[in-house]
Amino acid sequence: MTLTKPIYFDNAATSRCDPRVVEAMLPYFTEIYGNTGSRNHSFGWVAEDGVEVARRQIAALIGADRKEVIFTSGSTESNNLAIKGAARMYAKHPAGSGECRGHIITAQHEHKATLDPCKRLEKEGFEVTYLEPRSDGLITAEMVKAEMRDDTILVTIMWANNEMGTINEIPEIGALCHDRPAGKQVIFHTDGTQWVGKMPANVTADNVDLMSMSSHKMYGPKGVGALYVRRRRPRVRLTALLEGGGQERGMRSGTMNVSGIVGFGKAAELAGHEMDSERERLLALRKKLEAGIVAGLSDVQINGHPEKRLPNISNISYGFVEGESLMMACKDIAMSSGSACTSASLEPSYVLKAIGVGDDLAHSSLRMSLGRFNTEEEVDFAIAQVIKSVNKLRDLSPLYDMHKEGIDITKIEWQAH
């Protein structure tokens, strides 16, 4: 069977829609096209039906009640709603009072959709602690405990990191947040974007109060996501971001993206059924990929905890070779890099920096993320192309020369411009 090139190894960025998802969505464009808010005619009722089925499908995936699922435009919006919504609701003092309105704990290597809302809240009078991750990328309950204060109101830690796949101690951190005296309640939010749909999640067993989810990371359409909002023990309330028609219990106004939501629901249903077998298959493929690369090249390092990672993500630094040139060289593989050149800001990955990976190795990193539609053949192809490209680029690299000659690169006085 001939490979379709380029092969897609960037599933952590987004995933292809499962054809079964698209099939489920199609009637909702030209046949079932009502507004779910139209209470008085069948167009509205049928559309609402579709949304409510999806709501149940997503709730089932995470062990929640359907009333606890709020639909949004995606994880970025869900993160914004959860973090700003909870902080502003549970603030200890009003805005502009000059006092610290509450303390929030998060981590340095969270997604920008978490970090930027936190920065915004700092401007609004909240104090934020950004935990430094371990060198293996993990955030543990111990680390959170060490920073908890009497005035802590919110903890937000992602379940799995998008760049490395490393898995944080979510159930333990949740337990910590719930074990608080009366009046010192801490709400626990987790960004479940990379986790949900791939790994088992139960909001009660895992002690989660708020959780962001994204459709397009689990083979659903882009432009739709959800926020889990706990209703019991404790009941979590949020100040809304989008105000207007009062949809989603007042938490998220706006006409529902019916076709997107139906697709998301179907994707969630499929994920529930196929998660376990898929996880096994992808773990085996990832192991093969990493083993092949490590065996074929010297001076490579896998970033993040070796085992406590999602089964489908592999973040590797290739010494003496720069990430963007490596992506250009591997033209038949679609993946992403921690290199500055590939970010608009010319800064290398802040995630890799946070775990202590040196700037030069951060520039030399590639993230490959596998998914439902990747095959073993593609993995074999990728191993060969990566090895070939790295060797070719090392032939071009002055750093590799110096390394071969035994020169210590860290001792050179570089004249950066």
Binding site: E322, S325, K331, C341, S397, P398, H417
Partner: protein, 163 residues
């Protein structure tokens, strides 16, 4: 059309649907060519050897932390003309192409002519986008550093007082 679509690979599919060429690579063809068919890659010897040779000038610019390191070496003949040039580069495709192009242009030029090469000429030749202009600046720096090194080794520092 449907049949062609079914059998086309990803890029071809998009072209057929949109009816126009899709630029899937951020690089110009020229940039890619410098990587696929590299010319003048290498070194005239080990770091130690080059340091001792007075007919070789080396420019080493950039820094690993910035993701860009260029090493440009020029071999200068008795008449003060650059008879050969070699490069090595740790950096993105545009950086590799910029330093590669620099070696091509330097061959056969005098030191003064080499010094006159401007980064803007590199930008134009390689069709570098704005975000990659700094790669051409680094290449110009590398050229100047190599020429400076050669002059310094041979006691013909240009425009400086001996200090």
């Amino acid at each position: 059309m449907a049949g062609a679509l079914a059998h086309a690979d990803a890029q071809e599919k998009v072209r057929l649907i949109k009816g126009r060429k899709v630029n899937t690579m951020a690089y110009s063809d020229k940039v890619i060519e410098h990587y696929e068919k590299p010319r003048n890659v290498g070194s005239f010897g080990t770091q130690k050897e080059i340091k001792e040779r007075t007919d070789i000038g080396v420019g080493l610019v950039g820094a690993p932390e910035c993701g860009d390191v260029m090493q440009l070496q020029i071999k200068v003949d008795q008449d003060g003309n650059i008879e050969d040039a070699k490069f090595k580069c740790f950096g993105c495709g545009s950086a590799i192409a910029s330093s590669s192009l620099a070696t091509e242009w330097l061959k056969g030029k005098s030191l003064d002519e080499g010094e006159a090469i401007r980064n803007t000429e590199i930008v134009e030749e390689l069709s570098l986008p704005p975000v990659k202009i700094h790669c051409s600046v680094l290449a110009e720096d590398a050229i100047k550093a190599a020429i400076e090194d050669y002059r310094h080794k041979n006691g013909i520092d240009h425009d400086h007082d001996e200090s």
